[in-house]
Amino acid sequence: MKTLPFNAMFTLAWRNLWRNHRRTLIMLSAITVGVWAMIFMTALMRGMVDDMLLNGIRSLPGEVLIHHPQYRDDPGINNSIPAPGDELLKALQIPEVTAWTSRVRVPAVISSERDSRGVTLVGVNPASEVQVGFDIDSIVEGRFLESSNDKGLIIGAKMAEHLETDLGKRVVVMSQDPDNNIADRGFRVVGIYKAKLASLEETYVYAGLETIQKLLKLDDMVSEIAITGEDYRNVDKWYPHIKQAAGEGVDTLPWYEADTYLGSMLSMMDGFVLVWIIVIFLALSFGLVNTLVMAVFERVREIGLMMALGMRPSTILYQILMESFLLLVIGLLLGNALAIGTIIPLQDGIDISVVAEGMEMMGTSSMLYPALKLNDMIMANAIVITLGLLTSILPAWRAASYDPIEALNKT
């Protein structure tokens, strides 16, 4: 079976495309803007979700968390685990793991002379806590903890406001020891931190790990072991190795299982991006099909002629699809270029502080950083090309189905 060579088909398709400049340019503009909207809006949504996820993961950093099996249901002192053993310590040496730390994390009450609040008391090793991601610059007054047996306390700015306390003042922290007796201690506030989300400032208070272990009679027991890697999205590559080393007696969970809200947020966003891209494409497809139908309708005689000269119906079909392909490829190139050109200047962030309070309820901060992901671009391009060609089959098939004589006699 003979068919028109690719270069001849390309030439014919290219010239046919520009027979009606105005229509082609309008369609190209629509595809360009559509593709730009797909990629740009996806980058904004990805940026927002990344921010929400990072804020969630970094509230107490750790992409993989090891807990007592009952800790998630009852985060009390009795559901503690031993510090990492040899096997786990060896596993934590793998290159994918960038840092790890142990924490005591228990519910507590903090009281000043003015007020009392329920908080989460976190006993940390300051050095390793900074390595896993605690932002030392978040300390806006005073200092961070200097060692595991530091006797000072770090509280959030909002908490300081509620307790009407300040740097250098004393507060009392009260929790329970393993015998269910009240364990309390006076701490001097040595540092005040500001978090991206005000709710975090009201939740966590930090003290030295050893200080808290002594207060709660925990010896070297901890509430959790937190491990971080290069990128939270790649956690699945190394988490099974850690899980195996940690053993069956503990819960070893990646961040998306430890915090199912964050995990479902990521899945939901993936679905939302796909729906968004398809919705935009559907709007585009009407224009695309209309353009091709008009292009075919205007060339009925010409198509009849090609058939009369010996062009097979299948070649006519490929010819029309080639025109659609060219239109889509040019639109995609322009759309991608426009998207990249508008996203790159915004890499330093978009200030959305005007709506920051509303955004904070969703767990995002007041700066939005568009996240241009190669996978999202590939998905948008693949969907536009694939569905674009599929929708073009209808006008192409119509053209290929013409009877040569009827087509030649069209006026």
Partner: protein, 234 residues
């Protein structure tokens, strides 16, 4: 040897509620290298017969053989292949592809046939020269006169040296001088390349060139005679 054999062809068309007879039990044999004119008034069936011979239209009944191919038994694809390899068409309304130049229009059929670029280029150059369009190879149809466009169409029809050229009213849109030039060209090609020509026409000037004149009316052949003194010199 017969180039075309048609046996008992019948074809009807529905026009509103009326049934129109296109071909009414037409049987005809055309020898290879012949120069035949189908004449008759509008609606006599000459174009229908021409289209049936070219595999562009399917008769309701009867048989058509072109060379050794039984045309009436072919599907759409093989029919297209048969037209590509065996037949050259010249239509009344030039019918060139507007986005292609004269040379590209001529090369189009050769491209579909897979003729190598060098050979295509040489043959298109030669044939355009032969039809008097040297120097106009890169003009698009809109930049050519009606006569020049018809010459490009003729060049396209014969460039692959088909066994058969079917022409439907090829001079209808041409002035008398251009029409005479075109017919001279047909005669020359028939003589030099032994291409069989079947021309549907109601132009008496064209009929004068035919070696064989077949007259039709109401879908029937009413006369079929060899011309005693055609304008063709064998």
């Amino acid at each position: 040897m017969s180039s075309i054999v048609c046996k008992d062809l019948c074809k009807t068309f529905q026009q509103g509620e009326e049934i129109i007879t296109g071909l009414d039990h037409v049987s005809i044999e055309i020898d290879a290298g012949d120069f035949v004119c189908l004449s008759g008034p509008s609606g006599s069936g000459k174009t229908t017969l021409l289209n049936a011979m070219g595999g562009l239209d399917t008769p309701d009944s009867g048989q058509i053989r072109v060379g050794d191919t039984q045309v009436d038994q072919l599907g759409k694809g093989p029919l297209a292949d048969m037209r590509l390899h065996k037949i050259g068409f010249v239509f009344q309304a030039y019918n060139l592809i507007p986005v292609l130049t004269a040379r590209e229009n001529v090369e189009f059929v050769m491209q579909v046939r897979g003729v190598p670029a060098n050979e295509r280029s040489g043959r298109s150059h030669d044939i355009l020269k032969e039809v008097g369009l040297e120097g106009m190879e890169d003009r698009r149809p809109a930049q050519l006169s009606g006569g020049q466009q018809q010459r490009v169409a003729v060049a396209r029809a014969i460039v692959s040296q088909p066994a058969l050229v079917l022409a439907d009213e090829p001079t209808a849109n041409l002035d008398s001088v251009t029409a005479a030039h075109l017919m001279d060209l047909f005669v020359e090609l028939n003589s030099n390349h032994k291409i069989t020509f079947v021309i549907a026409t109601h132009d008496v000037r064209v009929m004068g060139y035919a070696k064989r004149l077949i007259k039709m009316r109401d879908g029937k052949i009413i006369s079929d005679e060899k011309q005693q003194q055609p304008l063709i010199e064998d």
